[in-house]
């Protein structure tokens, strides 16, 4: 069988999977996958890119379109990077940031999205397959992104501490208090 036909079959299987397989179809899929490594890799390749496309959900909100959001988010992140050290010491010596009132985890499963409003009015949008921890303190809010993609909107005068690098010991990034800022946090 040609590679093209194999790919077509893999796509058909995944499209069926995308709408939900019957038990019978599941068995047939297992058989098909087990029949050859070519089947298997064609399936994995298409599945991976189809799952990558889950990110497109970020385009849903108008105003969050990549082209419009990017110019805002880039300087924000650059600025955040510049004051990283400052924030690091703030984190260390500023007890207010550390004695967090209550840190709450929020998570979405694959394909799921969630909007969360923190007690100070900060809006947190979680894209698919995302885990964040958020807390509001006397001096600001701390949001840690452990996985996935989240958008943060706030219009308060207080700063936010953001951390999006779980692998690096979670040093917080300080985001200045731009009025009504949307900041995109992405991970991985």
């Amino acid at each position: 069988m040609s590679v093209d036909e194999t790919e077509m079959q893999a796509a058909q299987w995944l499209a069926r999977e995308d709408r939900g397989l019957t038990a019978e179809e599941s068995d047939a899929l297992e058989l098909w996958l087990g029949a050859s490594s070519l089947n298997k890799v064609a399936y994995l390749r298409l599945k991976a890119s189809w799952e990558r496309a889950d990110r497109l959900a970020a385009l849903k909100r108008p105003g969050l379109r990549v082209s419009e959001r990017a110019p805002m988010a880039v300087p924000a992140l650059v600025a955040a990077g510049l004051v990283l050290m400052l924030a690091g010491s703030a984190w260390h010596f500023w007890p207010a940031f550390r004695t967090t009132v209550d840190t709450r985890p929020y998570a979405t499963a694959i394909g799921q999205k969630q909007e969360v409003r923190l007690s100070d009015g900060t809006r947190l949008e979680l894209n698919t397959n995302t885990r964040v921890r958020a807390s509001v303190t006397a001096t600001g809010r701390i949001v840690t992104l452990d996985e996935g993609e989240a958008y943060l909107t706030w219009c308060m005068t207080r700063p936010a501490l953001l951390s999006s690098m779980p692998g690096t010991g979670g040093s917080p990034i300080w985001a200045p208090n731009f009025p009504s800022t949307v900041l995109a946090m992405m991970c991985g």
């Binding site: 590679v3 077509m8 796509a11 599945k47 496309a53 990549v66």
Partner: protein, 189 residues
Amino acid sequence: MVQIDDWFVREVLPLEAVLTRFLQRNWRNEAEINDLRQETYARVYEAAQRERPVLVKPFLFQVARNLIIDRLRKQSVVSLETVADFDWLNVSDDRPSSEAHVAARQELRLLQTALDELPPRCRQVVVLRKVEGLSQKEVAARMGVTIETVENQVAKGMRLLAQALGGRRGAVTSQSRRFNFLRKPRNVR
């Protein structure tokens, strides 16, 4: 997901763009590139079931190389001695695989470009499914088409997205270099 599948998705698939460029440089028949790529994947997958390679990228290229040599042997266009003369190792493509870790923002832009290039009907289905988050059934109802149509368009969109995301377009610039080994007359019998 099974461990090996997980490994394959995480370590091998992100190298698709460099692999494709490598194949294009060393195989002149563009129509067979997909074929070579999938065959390479299958060999890597099978080898990894026995033993997981430590360095994935060199291993992937080695497998691709061997595959090309096998094919050339079958075609018997080129003698085996001359194969060693090829530009194989001229893979200056070995810069750190930034391909594997496209920043998330770029990723979104890449996806959006790929989405915009889909044929209109297919694009509409993918947008409703992935951006709006509707189920296939809901997409069918919204568009007033059968669920089979939606399913077919999903299958089509999947293939086109995979092709676009796999870096085929970015590879076009290396087209001129693809004919490398044809320019070496002593290599061709």
